[in-house]
Symmetry: C2
Subunit: 226 residues, 2 copies
DNA sequence: TCGGCATGCGACCGATCAGTCATATGACCG
DNA sequence: CGGTCATATGACTGATCGGTCGCATGCCGA
């Protein structure tokens, strides 16, 4: 938790610090990210940063558990319970992709919870965030299961598999589509514009279709041609 | 590429170094991993390590592109082209899981290619490895598509989605099943034994079934009960 | 026995980091 | 004015890192 001083900060200064911190933690690992660097870039002396936060982890935790979710909620909003399950799910995924493209730094920060790290405290934090995300997704899928739109032998397993698809999986697909690395997308505003809403929609739909129907055809397999 | 001295090393010394290096790079990020630590643990002076490798990256590259694939091939072997596509694919996935459980450090090292990092050289290395893995998987899926066992609107997209399922996705499921963190599994020999071949098989099959049939039932959705 | 060469080795270097601390500043109060 | 208190600030600490360097060691051929 930030110190009380942080909340009494002039808006401009606080915004600058948070902005640079997000930038730093978005394109470096927690271990690689440097508090000195953040302070330098935000033009705030390092000593001052320690007036606002207990330590590096405190700042990171604040971004991960408060700033990012707040900004994400503001962008994504809440899912409406109308329409049939798969249509709603499609919307859900597409809005996630929109967030990824419109706010790559925030998306990356949220996804950082999947990053490996040797620091046990950071691991704990990441785990908690992952778990929360899975819970949320599980709740969504549960509705589908109750309505009979979705069938899984083990909903926990299914939730995890679906999570990797609409998370790292779709991110990977988007990057391929853009022909760029995550790093380049984070750095370039123009690059992300290359993925218009139309194509975005198509990719989301393709992923959802995969989740829904799989790749098997149900038809009998053609024998190996002679 | 290691220096020639490395290849002239007494077997025991080389093995010790490689072993400790794998251990270090398996449970820390490249950035977090410490060459000093590796040298210390292998009981080899740091100066000597620099007689064998150009630098930290050189050692890492060697492990990632030579040691890990060699040991993995030795364990997994090559897929046999007999049987129908989905049966073979099931085997393929199950052997991957066996590797994960029997040699978690090597599996983790191979998976490290998906780790984010700020170092451009490491990113390049990781990208190359990912790309190679995707090519391999794509070739497998192509066979399925040709035989009509598999249908995807875009095979590249499908390959990437499948890759995240049988990679990070299944790893995540296995960890949940073991009720442990990746770190604990890497450290404890006894822990991994808890996932017997039977349950392993069941999980692999469940994942493949998901890939094959998806979660949708095809049945019409039951309307929200009043 | 000697000389040269590959290798072993660990002290050392410069850089960077997270985090601390003593001092400076300046707003507000009496 | 004087005093107090929150805050600003950057020099400093101690640790670790990747990488280098120069000396020590020991093998091999003459």
């Amino acid at each position: 938790m930030p110190k009380s001083t942080f909340f009494r900060l002039p808006e401009e200064r606080r915004a600058r610090l948070v902005h640079e911190a997000i930038a730093e933690f978005a394109d470096r690992t927690y271990a690689e990210a440097s508090l000195s660097q953040i302070a330098r870039r935000a033009n705030i002396p390092k000593g001052s940063v320690y007036q606002y936060f207990e330590d590096k982890l405190d700042l990171y935790r604040w971004l991960l558990t408060e700033e990012a979710p707040r900004l994400k909620r503001a962008f994504v909003g809440m899912p409406s319970p109308e329409g049939d399950f798969w249509t709603r799910f499609d919307d859900f995924v597409e809005r996630g992709m929109a967030f990824l493209v419109e706010h790559p730094r925030l998306a990356r920060l949220s996804a950082a919870a999947a990053d490996p790290t040797a620091n046990p405290e950071v691991r704990g934090l990441h785990k908690a965030i992952c778990e929360a995300g899975l819970q949320e997704l599980r709740a969504v899928l549960e509705v589908g299961a109750e309505r009979g739109a979705l069938h899984a032998p083990d909903l926990d397993v299914a939730t995890r598999l679906v999570a990797t698809i609409i998370g790292p999986g779709l991110t990977d697909v988007v990057l391929q589509e853009l022909g760029a690395e995550l790093h380049e997308v984070l750095a370039s505003d123009s690059l992300r514009k290359r993925l218009g809403p139309k194509r975005r929609r198509a990719l989301a739909h393709q992923a959802v279709d995969f989740i829904r129907k799989g790749l098997g055809s149900g038809k009998p397999e053609r024998r190996k041609e002679t």
